[in-house]
Symmetry: none
DNA sequence: GATGAATGAGTATTCATTCAT
DNA sequence: TATGAATGAATACTCATTCAT
C-alpha cells in the first residue's frame, strides 16, 4: 500500500466512525462518508470490501485504542485512596463507553449486522468480541481486597458489575436524552458513593 | 373504528414492536411488518400516517403498559424485607427494560427519528418523554428510610440510580451479546447484594 | 334507481367535475371526489364502473348542457348589429370553453384516457365526439351573408374558425397563466374588431 | 461533467419531452422515461433532483430553442408580400406550439406543478415565464404599418392576437382530435385570409 | 489509485378497486 | 344502498456497489 493509499484509508476510517456514530449504521450512507473523507464514493471500495467491513474496521479501531487505555489500570491498587481510584476509573469507563457506545448501539439494533460482524472478525483468544472494562475492574478490586482496602467478603466480579453499571448507564441515558433533544443530569459520583459504602471494610 | 379495524391495528402494533426490536428502525421494512401482522402493506397506512407514526405508537404502547406496572411499587415499603423487595423490583425493571430497550435502541441510533418523535408527541405534564423506573425506585427507598429500614444518610436518588443501573446494564449487555450470537452471563443479584450492603442501617 | 341513489349519483357527478377541473384527471383521487360528494369511496363504484367512466360521465354532462346553450344562436342573424351579435357569441364561447377546457386539458395530455373514452362512448350521428361551437358560428355567418350584412366573398367556415380561435385562445392562455400563478390580460374585443373589418361588406 | 455524462443528460431530456408530451406529467413514469432514454432509472437522479426538475429542464429546453427561432422574425418587414410573410409566420408559430403545447398541457392540468415550477425557476427580466410569439408578431405588424403595407388604424397588439390565435387553436384542436383517435382538418390559411382582409390598407 | 457515471434492487407511500358487513 | 376496511400493483426515489476511464 502506498503512503497515499494509507492516508486515504485512515481518512476513511475516521470519517466512517464519525458518520456511523452520528447516523447509526443504516442511515449512514457511503456517499456521506466519502464526502466526509473528501474522496469519491468509488474509492471506499478500493480499501474495504463493503460497507459492513468499513464499519467493522472503524469499530475495531476504536475498541483497540480503548483496550490500551484500560489494561494498565489494575496497577493502581494500593495507590492513593480506593475512592479516588474508583472515581478515576469511573471517568475512564465513561470516556470509553462514550466512544464505543454509538457504534455498539448501531449494532445492537441490527441483529444481522452484529452477527455477520462477529462471525467474520478474528476473535481474541478469550473469544471476547469486545474488550470490556469489567475484567480489569474486577482485577483491581481483587488486588485491593488483598491489600485490605476493600471488604474481603464481597465478590469482586459482582462489585465490578455494580460499579461498571454506573458509567455505562450514565452514558447510555445521556445518549438517549440527547437523541431526543433533552439533557439528562446524572450524578455518577453520588451513585458511586452509595456502592462504596458497601465495599468499605468494617471499621471495627 | 370497527371491531375488525381495531383488531388489525393491534396486530400491527405488536408486529411493529417485534420487527423494530429485531431490525432497528431503518432496517425494519413496512413489507416485513405487514407480513408479520398478516395484512397487506397498504393496510398499515389506513391505521398510521407513516412508518414513523407506527413506530411512535408501538413505542408509546409499550411504555404506557410499563408505566402501569411500576407506579404502584413504592407501596411495598415496610412489607417483607428490603432485600426481597429490591430483588422483586430488580426483576420488574429487568422486564420493563427488556421490553422498551430494543425500541429505544432503534431510536437512539437514529437521532432524527427521536427528535421528530418527541417534538411532535404530546408530552406528559412532567415533560418526561419516557417513563423511567428511577422516580418510583427513589420514592420506595425514601419510604424505607422513613421506616428506618434503609440508612438515612444516603441520598435516595443516588441509591436509586445505582440500583437501576444494574438491571439496565444487564439487559443491554445481554442484548448486545445476543446480537453477536453469544451469551452473557450476568449475576444481577450478586451485584444487588453489594449495593445493599451500603444501604443497610448500621447494626448499632 | 331509487330517489336517494339518483341524488347520490348527481352529487358525485358535480363533485367529480369540480375535482377533475381543479386537479386534472391523474391527480384527482377517488378519495377526494368521494369526500367532496360526502359519500364513502366505495359508493363511487356502485354508480360508475371505474374512475374513467366517472370522468366520462362528468364530461358528457358539461358538454351536453353547453350544446343546448349554443344551438339556438344562428337565429340571431338579422337582429341587432353583426358586431353586437359577434361580441355576444364571443362571450358565450368563452363561457363554454371555460367550462369544458379543464376537462379537455386533462384529456389532451393523456392519450390513453382520451382514446378509451371516445372509443367506448356512444358517439353522435355526426361522429363528432365533442360539440364544437364552430358549426353554429359558421351557420350564423352564412345567414348574415344571405342578408348582406357580411361580405359574400369570404368562406363562412374560415371566418368561423378565425373568430372561434379568439375566445378559445383567450381562455386557454388564461388557464395557463393562472396555473403559473400569473394573470394574462387579453383583449378579446380588440382582436374581434380586427377580424370584423375583414368581414364588413365594401361600402361602395 | 464528462462527455459521456453530458450525452446521457441530453438523451434524458429528449426522452422526457417525448414521454411527458404523450402521457402528461402525472402519467409519465420515471421508469418509462428511463427506458426511452436507454438508461437505468437511477441515472435520472444523477442528472436531475427529481421528476419535477426533469420536466422543468425539458420544458425550458424546448422553450429556449423556440425563442431563437422567433426572435429574428420582425426583420421580415418590407420583404416579399405581407401575405407571404404572415403565411410563413403562421407555419413557424404552428411548429413552435406543436413543440411546446404538449408540455404546457401537461402542466396546465397540474396546477401545483406549474406553480412550483415558475416560483423556483429564474425568470427572465420581463418576468415572462414563457416566450410567446405575440410580441415579435406585434413588432412585425407595427413595422409593416410604418411601411404602409398594413392599415395604420388597427391596433398591432390586437391584430397580433387575432393572428396568433389561428395556429394556436389549430395545433390544440389537432392535439385533442389525435388524442381521441380522430383527425381534425383545419384550414389555417383560409382563416388567415379572412384576417388579412381586415389588415389591407384601403385601396383608395 | 482515484474518479464519477451508471446500475438495479429495494423502500416507503399512494390509490383505484374489491369485499364483508 | 352505503360503508369503510383491506388489497396489491404501481410509483418516485435511494443507495450500496460496479465499471470504464
Amino acid at each position: 500500500m502506498t503512503e497515499r493509499g494509507e492516508a486515504t484509508r485512515q481518512r476513511l476510517l475516521d470519517a466512517a466512525a464519525a458518520v456511523f456514530s452520528e447516523r447509526g449504521y443504516a442511515r449512514a450512507t457511503t456517499k456521506e462518508i466519502a464526502r466526509a473523507a473528501a474522496v469519491s464514493e468509488g474509492t471506499i471500495y478500493r480499501h474495504f470490501a463493503d460497507k459492513k467491513e468499513l464499519f467493522g474496521a472503524a469499530f475495531i479501531g476504536r475498541n483497540a485504542s480503548n483496550a490500551v487505555a484500560i489494561t494498565g489500570l489494575p496497577n493502581l491498587a494500593g495507590t492513593k485512596s480506593v475512592r479516588e481510584n474508583l472515581q478515576f476509573l469511573m471517568r475512564a469507563i465513561e470516556d470509553i463507553e462514550a466512544n464505543v457506545a454509538p457504534l455498539q448501539a448501531a449494532m445492537s439494533s441490527d441483529a444481522e449486522l452484529a452477527r455477520s460482524l462477529f462471525s467474520e472478525a478474528p476473535q481474541g483468544e478469550g473469544g471476547a468480541p469486545r474488550i470490556t472494562p469489567l475484567q480489569p475492574l474486577a482485577a483491581y478490586l481483587a488486588a485491593e481486597q488483598k491489600l485490605g482496602r476493600v471488604r474481603a467478603d464481597v465478590d469482586a466480579a459482582d462489585a465490578a458489575f455494580a460499579l461498571f453499571a454506573i458509567p455505562f448507564t450514565a452514558v447510555t441515558s445521556r445518549r438517549l436524552a440527547r437523541a431526543a433533544g433533552l439533557t439528562a443530569e446524572v450524578d455518577m459520583m453520588g451513585a458511586l458513593d452509595v456502592v462504596l459504602r458497601g465495599l468499605e471494610p468494617s471499621q471495627a
